[in-house]
């Protein structure tokens, strides 16, 4: 990252977003939605897509306006921009994919309060060029999505014996379904395991 506006390598931004500085298991941000929407893979996928789009667009917009925005009101402007994109996504889902809008309920609107977006706008987009900010936003979104999808995969599989709603052999029939996995406590256990596993891998790499 570069606080003084130097050029940042795209490759570094990508690796930071997905691995080295992953929003979930490194920064531990956006945990609310991680716990809430990860019991069905399909819902998680749509939520992640929405978040990634909103984050990319917000970071780009914040970056475009960075030389005009007075510092003392920058947070207000960022919130406004994020809310703007979230409302657009919410309206688009309501109009063109009503079933999904119904099954995600209030979660789409809650993207506004997802601290990852605010965090990236503040930490990166506010002081970097538009192109780099767009890439940063999108790859942080992808890093978030990767973790969420792996959590959702295990929760749906162990809790309901399905993936994306399709029955998985053995798990759908002989497996004694762990109902707790689709309930809120299951999210805590899975998230904790994921953070533990990924951080251990990271530590081992650093040691080498």
């Amino acid at each position: 990252m570069s606080p003084n506006g130097q050029r940042v390598l795209t490759r570094d931004i990508v690796i930071d977003g997905i691995w080295r500085n992953n929003p979930i298991f490194r920064q531990v941000l956006g945990i609310c939605s991680t716990l809430a929407v990860t019991n069905l893979v399909l819902n998680t996928l749509v939520m992640c897509t929405a978040l990634t789009l909103v984050m990319g667009a917000s970071c780009l917009t914040v970056s475009l306006l960075r030389n005009w925005t007075p510092r003392n009101i920058r947070m207000m402007v960022q919130t406004l921009i994020i809310a703007f994109y979230v409302i657009l996504v919410d309206l688009a889902l309501k109009a063109y994919w009503p079933e999904m809008s119904r099954s995600l309920g209030p979660y789409v609107g809650l993207i506004i309060t997802n601290c990852i977006i605010m965090g990236r706008c503040e930490a990166f987009a506010g002081s970097n060029r538009p192109a780099a900010s767009l890439i940063d936003g999108i790859f942080n979104g992808l890093g978030y999505s990767a973790v969420l999808l792996s959590i959702a995969f295990f929760r749906e599989l162990l809790g309901m014996g399905t993936v994306m709603g399709f029955a998985v052999p053995y798990f759908a029939t002989n497996w004694d379904k762990w109902i707790i996995m689709v309930m809120p406590p299951g999210a805590f256990f899975t998230l904790a395991s994921v953070i533990w596993i990924f951080r251990s891998i990271g530590l081992r790499r650093d040691a080498k």
């Binding site: 929407v37 019991n39 069905l40 819902n43 306006l65 005009w68 925005t69 007075p70 003392n72 009101i73 207000m76 402007v77 406004l80 921009i81 703007f84 409302i87 657009l88 309206l91 688009a92 309501k94 109009a95 063109y96 009503p98 119904r102 099954s103 309920g105 209030p106 749906e156 809790g159 309901m160 109902i179 689709v182 309930m183």
Partner: protein
């Protein structure tokens, strides 16, 4: 100029006006569609309550709804009525109330004699996906078809999975006890009100 206090105010004002006008424009643009989607969800639920929605989409459902369903009146005990082959063949009783997270709204299809359930469906709910939201799945809803409505007390009961069922009872969803308890309550309140109204007004028994 950027350091002047008025600049921040003016800037915020301009930015807000700009983004708001785009949102307002888009909301206007989609509002007819959003409304149509809501209406269609309701009409689909109406057909599903009588197991008539199979194989129909969008416009078919809308036309079928307009053709066969009549709006509630005093005589029907404030339920929509369904006409098949020229005869009254069922009542669609609207039920609604508090779910686990947010209101649940649905429809109970009752046979013309007022004694049996033909089906249930839901057009508004925000229960937990994978648990409470399973009430919208066919697996749960199909249990209701053919159940007899009790003539006293609670018309229909939702019992724990695995228990033996009487002919006005269905099985609950494992892990969604709260949703099922509330669902039983809200269905029964509206259904009992309709039943009492229907039979006391001497409707065609």
């Amino acid at each position: 100029m950027r350091d002047k206090p008025w600049f921040a105010v003016a800037y915020m004002f301009v930015v807000t006006a700009f983004f708001s006008s785009i949102v307002i424009g888009f909301a206007r643009f989609t509002s007819a569609r959003v409304k149509a989607n809501e209406q269609l969800a309701f009409e689909t639920a109406m057909l599903e309550a009588f197991a008539l929605a199979e194989g129909k989409t969008g416009l078919d459902i809308h036309e079928f709804f307009l053709e066969r369903f009549t709006k509630p009146d005093k005589e029907s005990g404030l339920a929509y009525t369904l006409t098949e082959d020229g005869n009254l063949s069922g009542y669609a009783v609207l039920v609604g109330g508090k779910g686990f997270w947010a209101p649940i709204k649905g429809i109970v299809g009752v046979s013309a004699d007022g004694n049996r359930i033909r089906g249930v469906s839901f057009y508004e709910q925000s229960e937990t996906p994978g648990l409470g939201a399973e009430i919208t799945k066919a697996q749960f809803r199909n249990q209701f078809a053919g159940r007899r409505l009790a003539t006293t007390d609670r018309p229909i009961r939702i019992r724990p999975t695995g228990s033996k069922l009487a002919d006005n009872e269905v099985h609950a969803i494992t892990g969604a006890t709260q949703t099922c308890t509330r669902l039983e309550k809200l269905i029964n309140e509206d259904l009992a009100r309709w039943r009492d109204e229907h039979f006391s007004s001497g409707g065609n028994q």
